[in-house]
Structures are given as C-alpha cells and as structure tokens.
Amino acid sequence: MRELTYSDAIREAMMEEMRSNPNVFLMGEDVGVFNGVWGVSHDMLAEFGPERIRDTAISEMNIIGSGLGAALVGMRPIVEIMFGDFLMCAGDQIANQVAKARFMSGGKANVPLTIRITSGAPGSAAAQHSQSPESWFMNIPGLKIVTPASPADAKGLLKTALRGEDPVLFFEHKMLYAETGPVPEEADFSVPFGQAAVVREGKDVTLIGVGIMVKKSLLAAEMLAKQGIEAEVIDPRTLVPLDKDTLIKSVAKTGRVVISHEAHRRSGPGAEISAVLAEDAIEYLDGPIMRVGAKNVPLPYSPELENHVLPNENDVYEAALKLCGRS
C-alpha cells in the first residue's frame, strides 16, 4: 500500500470530500495563504480558491459559531482551531451551541460540522501551546470526539466525520503529522466511529493508548516483550463514542490495564476509560487500573522540565511491569 504522512492523510480526506461535495469547505486562521500553520492544508487554496479555503480573522468564537450556522443551512464546514489550547476561546459556542443544537430543537437541527484541532506538546511551546484538550468537552453530550493515532485512521476517521451529520471534535497530534504509514487508496475507505483497534495482541497486560500514546504504548510493548510480557495494545480511536466492548474483552483476557494519554492525568480521557472499566470489568482485574498521563502541572517551557511532566513509553512500561509484579 502507498504510504502517506498523517498530515497528508488528513489533507487527502479533506480534498476528496471537497471534490465530491461542493458544500464542504475549510475555514480557519491562516489555513489558506499560509498553508496552515502546521502545513496540513498546503496548496489547497490553489485548487479550491479563497471561497472554499477561507482565512478568517482571529476570532475563534466566530469560527466555530459560523461553522455551526453554515451547517444549519446545509453546508458541511471543516473548521480549524490552530492550537487545541485555543479551543476554550470558543468554549461556549462548542458546549452550548454546537453540541446542543440538535437536541434542543427536538432532533431537527443537522450539524455536519467537523472541528479540526491540533493537540499535544510540540516541544518547548510552553503552557498555552502544548495542551491535549481531548477530555475538556467529554462531559458535554452532543459531540463526538476523535483521536486518530495513525495516517490510515486519520484519513478514515476524518472521512467518517465529514460524511456524518453530527459535530465532531477531531484531534490531530502535532507530533504525529510527520509520521508515515500505509493508507488505503480506495475512494470509499473510511474508519467507523466506536470501533477500537487492537494494534498489537497480547495476553498479559492491556495497554490502552490515546492519540500519540498508541505509538508509545507499542514501544512499551516491545520493551515488555523483552521481559517476556506480552502486552496487548488498544487504540480506542474515538473517545465518544467509546468502544467499551473491545476494551473490556481485552481486559477480560489480560486482567491488567494501563491507560495512557498525553493530557494531564487528572480528569483526562483516562479518567473516563478507567471509570468505565471499574464499572464494567472490575471482576476481570488482577490489579489496579493504572493511568499514565502528563503530571498535573501546566506544560513547562524548559525541555528538561517538559520531559519530566510529559508521559512517555517508559512510564507505560514501568506501570505495566509493576502491574505484572515485576518491579
């Protein structure tokens, strides 16, 4: 299969949908002339023109809110929030307008709005440009929350988002943009929401990773393998909807689980996943449900401090080792 970067996989999904549906368009800060600050939408302006690749003012509330308005009259907007850290600049539009429009109207509002958001620490970008906001809106019913971890999933999940009728928060990890991987070429390729991927099979411990921590969980699994521990690595892919069954099935098999994400530990996505397992899978567990995440400290600028605060494969490895009674 041909290989694409995560970034180009996202771009390809957008371009395909824009080619096939005139109502799809992209709007955000510097997505056009600047090619997007992360380069994801490079040269899309040349193909689609400024009507469909819209550079906006620096006005996050209006970006999100007018995405909603356009969706309500039949468009299918993709809007970009340059850094996930700025998501709360538009917090109310997301929580009170976008998420609730359908329900409040008695199910009549259609909200095919995809909000693309970068997340994660790109290195020494400090506290306001490094956050992983995946869980900030998980308490708000009405949104779907997607965290692709590979180029194929990035494309496939984005296709599902763009073809659906509900608002989606689509989190792209900055440090995954340059990762390459095979991406199916079929025009109808998509990845459904609510289906976790078992990215490595194992029987001794389940490593559930969110976003970039899938990659790090795989690294941890290799390290564990050297210790004779077979880790199963699972990527939920979508946090809402959450594929509980796949998670529970794995835990039922291994009896041990380490959940990891780059978001802060407290009330990160892992809190919900852990709570789901503690509710529905506790009988299978041979030990505590371990969470690995950034320490509960704003992201520091200093590389050393930042490294100390961010979670990595070692943290997953050690948590798993401990769970398996080996540390």
Binding site: G69, G106, K108, G164
Partner: protein, 338 residues
Amino acid sequence: MQTGPEVSKYKDLYARDLLAEMFRRMTLVREFELRAIEERRGGLIPGFIHSCVGQEATAVGASLALTDEDVITSTHRGHGHLIGKGGDPKYMMAELAARAPGYCNGRGGSLHIADFSLGILGANGIVGGGLPMATGAALGFKMRGEKRVALSFFGDGATNEGTFHEAANQAGVWKLPVIFFCENNLYGEGTHIQRCTPIDDLAIRAQSYGFPGVIVDGNDILAVYEATKTAVERAKAGEGPTFIEAKTYRHRGHYEGDPQLYRTQEEIQSWMKKDPIKRFSKALMESGLFDDGDLEELQGSVIMQLNEAVSFAEKAEKPAVEEALAGVYADTHNGLVF
C-alpha cells in the same frame, strides 16, 4: 432616528393586506405573551418566560421584511421573533407546555424554539450566542450564490459580548448577507444601558466593522420594516451587512416575577404611552384604511387562534420518557455515544 412614513402615505406605499398582517402579527405576539404568562400562572407552562410585551414592532416589522427563504436567529426574548417569522402559536404553546408536538418535542422550551422549515434557526439561552450562527448561515447563502439573508436579533446587552464583535467583524470582511438587528430596550436584565455601555447610540458600533449602522424608532413598525427592507436589499445586492438599532422598551420585567427594582413606575408608564400596537392602530384608523371594526375583527381572530393554541397544548401528549435519549445525535453508533 428613522421613523416610519406619514399616515397619509400609507395608502400609496403599502398594500392593505400587509398593513393588516402587521397589525395581526403584533397583536398575536402581544396576546401570545399575555396568554402564556397566564398559563404559566395556571400551571400549564413549567419554565421561565421572558416576555417581549412592548417590543412587538421590532419583532414583527423586521421579520415581515424577510421572505420565507431568509433565516433568523433569536434570543431568550424570542416569542415575537418566532411569531413574526411565521411560527405557529399552537406548536409554540405546546412547546412552552413541554408537550410532545411542541416545536422541540418539549425538549427545548421557550429558550430554544426552532423551526428550520421557517428559517428560524433558534431562540437562544446564551446572550449573544446566535450572532456567529447568523454570520455562518449568511456565509452559506453567499457561497451557494443564493439570494437569501440571515437576520440576527439580539439585545442592547448582547452588544457587549465578544461574539457580537467577532461576528460583525467577519461579516464585514466577507460582506455577508447578514443583518444585525439590535433591540435596544435600555436594559440588560437589571442593568440600564448607561451603566454598562459608554455610548448613547449602539449603531455607531457598526463603524468598527465597515458597514452602515442605522437607528430606528423601534416602536414604529413601519420604520422598522423600512429599515430592514433596505438592509435586505443591500445584503441581496452583495453589499454586505447592516446594523439596525431599534430603540424600544419592554413593558414587563426581565422575566415574569422580576421585582424590577432597577427602574421607576414613571419610566414604565412613559413608555406604555408609546405602545407600538396602540400607536399603529391609531395610525391605521387615521389613514382611513381600517376602522374600529376591522381591527377588532383581526384582534378577535388572534384570540381565537390563541384559544386553539392553548387547548391544543393542553390536550397534547407529554413526551415519552424513553424519548429523552433521542435526538442528541443523528447517528448514535448503536447507542455507543450514550
């Protein structure tokens, strides 16, 4: 401040039907509010009511300048806008009564009534919340080359929210077919405009966004209608947004039950004298186009319509409890999102 045409000009300028419809809708808004308040006291309606009594000319005048293809976004004080835009009092009353056939199946209530088939994108519980939505709808129309406009209603208080600023700016840049219609009723809840806004006329805010700001007498339905018509034409000609500030007043409290410690009886009384419906009926009669009997007949039809609306609401079924989970998503991925 723009005012409407002289009484004597009515004949030449407006079709009698349009004038009748203006009167009928304003009366319908007024009577709807009074009836809803009564039914709330009587227990039929469980939630808050923010009535727009006194502001009928803005709601109806602006809405009647739109076509069915145009859309509006509304506010917490939205009943007038909805009726103005053609909303059916039956489904509105049923919604206020939290019944299944209500506009939102009883899920939304007064603050969230929407009817996409009529271009009503929704009332809103968030002050300033609907402004970006209107801008986005206008963007959609413009992108598809449709000759439609979006009109956003909001209050004086809402002009201090960041959403107003961001929406107006972007609309100005893209010359979107959107009308920012501000009902300046002097108060945001208990706060007089002079205590929270350092300018006398909100319309000057339009200068910041490169489009015209006009001031109209919001108790003069023809002035409101004319200003909105002009704005609609401008928008449809691709010339961009207009900000309309309509000066008006709400006769009742911010919500029903508000002790109104923040204003005097004198002030209220002085505005009661400027009642937009009384004023319009007087003018209609002076024009010779309508007599007492005509207006009473229209009024009577309104009362009948409301009686029907209330009895429809009373008889309507309550939503089934299992339905509470429906309608959050189009696609629940086999229930996984709950």
